[in-house]
C-alpha cells in the first residue's frame, strides 16, 4: 500500500507550526428558519484526523459541503490551505479529496475506468493503467475486480474505488462523510489503517461520523456538533472509549 501513497510529508518547520489545511471561520448556513451551521470555528492541521460527531441534523454533512463549495455559506468563510473557497472554488477543490457516504460511480464502466476518469478530472493527468491498478489494489479492491463493471460491485468495493480516487488525487485534505456506514468490521478496520497511512503522509482529514468507536480509534481529535455548533473538542489521546461515549451522551442530553 505504501508505494501508492506518494504525498509529500510536511517539512519539519511546517510540522512545528502547522498552518491549518482546513479552516472554518464563524461559518454559518441557514435554510429558512433552520440554522444548519451556526458560527462554526474549526481548524484541521496537516496529519490530523478530525472526527465530527453528532446526531443527524447536527450540521456535519453541511459543514463538509461548505468546504467543498457545494453550498454557499450565509455567514463566515471556509478556507482550504489558506484559499477562500468562495473566491477560488476550483483551486480549493484541487487540494481537496472527498469520499461521500455512498460512493456512486458509472455503473457501466469498470473500477479502473472510473478511477482513470475521476483522477484525470482531479487534475492528475493521465495515469498509466498499471499505476491506477496499483492504487485500486492498494485501496483494498480485489485485483480480479479492477476491470469488472461497477454494477457488479458491492457497496464496500465502491467505497474502495472512492478511496482510490481520493488517494490518486494526492490532495492536501480529505473530506469524508460517514465513510464506514454500512461497511463490515473488517472493511471498517482496513479503512482505519488507510486513514492512518494518509495521516502519516501529512494529509488533513475531516470526517463526519456516527461511529464513536471508529472516531476514537482513528481520529486525533473529535469535535461534537449539535444544532450547527461545535459543543466540545477533545483530543483522542486524552480520553478512553468509555469517556468519549459518556461525554457525547452528556452533550446530547443537555
Amino acid at each position: 500500500m505504501s508505494e501508492v501513497l506518494t504525498m509529500d510529508a510536511p517539512s519539519a518547520s511546517e510540522a512545528a507550526a502547522p498552518a491549518p489545511v482546513l479552516e472554518a471561520r464563524a461559518l454559518s448556513k441557514r435554510y429558512g428558519d433552520v440554522e444548519a451551521v451556526a458560527g462554526l470555528d474549526l481548524r484541521v492541521g496537516p496529519s490530523e484526523i478530525y472526527c465530527l460527531l453528532g446526531p443527524n441534523g447536527a450540521g456535519k454533512t453541511t459543514t463538509i459541503h461548505l468546504f467543498l463549495g457545494f453550498i454557499e455559506p450565509t455567514g463566515g468563510s471556509v478556507h482550504v490551505t489558506g484559499l477562500d473557497v468562495a473566491a477560488e472554488p476550483l483551486e480549493s477543490k484541487r487540494r481537496l479529496a472527498y469520499i461521500p457516504e455512498q460512493v456512486m460511480l458509472y455503473r457501466n464502466l469498470s473500477g479502473l475506468e472510473n478511477l482513470e476518469y475521476f483522477a484525470a478530472l482531479g487534475g492528475r493527468g493521465s495515469l498509466a493503467p498499471q499505476r491506477l491498478t496499483d492504487i485500486l489494489v492498494g485501496a483494498g479492491l480485489p485485483p480480479a475486480a479492477v476491470r469488472r463493471r461497477v454494477s457488479e460491485y458491492s457497496k464496500g468495493m465502491r467505497q474502495k474505488v472512492g478511496v482510490a480516487i481520493a488517494i490518486a488525487k494526492e490532495a492536501d485534505a480529505l473530506l469524508l462523510d460517514e465513510p464506514t456506514s454500512g461497511l463490515d468490521p473488517q472493511a471498517s478496520n482496513e479503512f482505519s489503517e488507510l486513514l492512518a497511512s494518509l495521516r502519516d503522509r501529512g494529509v488533513a482529514v475531516l470526517m463526519a461520523t456516527h461511529d464513536l468507536f471508529r472516531a476514537k480509534e482513528s481520529g486525533t481529535r473529535v469535535g461534537i456538533m449539535r444544532h450547527g455548533r461545535l459543543v466540545t473538542e477533545l483530543s483522542t489521546d486524552e480520553i478512553g472509549h468509555a469517556d468519549l461515549e459518556r461525554i457525547y451522551l452528556e452533550h446530547m442530553h443537555e
Binding site: P89, L90, Y98, L121, G125
Partner: protein, 475 residues
Amino acid sequence: MTLRTVLRNERRLLAADPALRIALAVFAVLFVYALVNGMAWERFQERTVEAARTGNAERTRALEQELAAIEAGGRPSSPFSDPRAPNVLGGARGAHTAALEPGPLTALAVGQSDLLPYYYDVSIYTNESSFQQNGEVENPLNLMVGRFDLAFVTVYLLPLLVLALSFNVLSEEREQGTLALTLSQPVSARDVVSAKLAFRALLVVGLAAGVSLLGILATGGASFGRVLLWCGTVILYALFWFALAAWVNSLRRSSAWNATVLVGAWLVLVVVLPAAINIAAGLLHPLPSRVEMITAQREASNDAVNRRSELLARYLEDHPEMASGVVADEPGLGALAWAATDAVNGRLEEVTAVHDARRAEQLALVRRYRFLSPALLAQEVLIDAAGTGDARFARFQSQVRTFADEWRQFFVPAILADERMNAGILPDVPTFRFVDEEPGDVARRTAVPLLFLGGLVVLMSVGAGVGLGRVRGAN
C-alpha cells in the same frame, strides 16, 4: 484537459450503453433509407425531364419531315392537323415541353418537387388554366411532410435523437450519484455538461452531415455554397435542440421532468405549431373553389364561341394593327378561333388572379408565423438549399409564362394573317431554357431564418450557461 477527459469518458459510456447504440443505429438506418428514397425521386425527375427533352426533339423532327414531304408535293397526314397552319405548328402538334431540372440537392430534400409541376407543355393554347391544372390547392406545407427524405428525417426525427442523447445530461449524473464525485473535482458543472453535450453533438452532427455528404457525393452537381448552407443548417438545427436540452437540464429538475418537457417541446414546435399555422392559413385565407374556377372557364369558353364574330370585332378594335389582314365579315378561320381563345384567356386571368391573390395571402401568413417554429424555419432553408423550394418553382413558372408569351408572339400574328408555315421556320421557333437562380438569391432568402435560428441557439445557450453556472452541489 477537462474536455478531453470528459470526451473519452463519454465515448466509454456510450460504448457500454446498448440503448444508445441501438438508437444511433436506428437513426443511421433511417438516414440512409431517406437518402435512398430521395435519390430515387431525383432519378425519376431526371428521367422525366430527359423524356421531355427527347419528346421535343422527336416532335420537331417529325414536323420537319412532314413539312419537307409536303413541300415535295406530299399531303398532310390529316387535313385537320396540317403542320403548315400556324395554329397547328404552334398548337398541340408542335408544343414544346418546358422542363425544370431537379434542384441541385433534390436527393437530400425532395421538398416541393413532388407536388409542384416541373414541366409544362407550352403551345399557343397555354393559358392560366395550364398553370393551375397541376397546382396543389391545399397548402403545400401540409403535404410536404409526405416524402421520407433527409430533410424530413432531419427536421422531424433528428430532434428526437438529440433529445434522447441529451435530456438527462446533467440530471442523470445527479440521479446516479456521480455528480457528487464529479463536482468535488476542480471542474465546473458547466464545463462538464458542455463537454458531454459536445461529444453527443459530434455524434449527431457527424451522422447527419455524414449521410448528407454521402448523398451529395453520390449525386454530384451541387455548388459549394448550397452544400455549406445545407450542412450549416443541419448543424444549427441540431444545436438548437441541444441548447434547449441544456437549458432544461440547467433548471435542475429530474430526468423524467426533463423528458416530459422536451418531448412536449418537440410535439409543439415540430408537430402542433406547423399544423396550426397551416390550418390558420386555410381558415383565414380560404382558396376560392377550384370547381368555380373551372366553371368560369367553361362559361367563358361557351360565351366566346357563341359570340365569336362579335368578339373578333372587339379584338380587332383592340388590335387595329391586325385589321388590315382580316376582312371583318369573312374572317380567317384561324384568326376567328384565336380571337375566341384570347377572350377565354382574358376571362381566365381574372378568375385565377383571385385564386393567386388568396394563395399569396396564405403563403404570406405561413411565412410570417414560421418564426414560431424552428422546424418550419429549418425546413424552409433546407429545401431552399436543395433547390426544391417554392422560390425556384415560382421562378420556373414565371420563366415558362414568359416563354409562353414568346411562343404566342411567334405564332399568333401568323394565325391572324392566315400565313402558311414551312420547314425553314422550325429553327426559329422559340425553345425554353431555364435560367437558374444565383447563389446570392438563395443566400438572401435564407439569411433571416438562419439568423433567427442562430439567435435562438445563442439565447438558449446563454440561458443554459447561466443556469449551469449556478450548479455547485449534487442536490
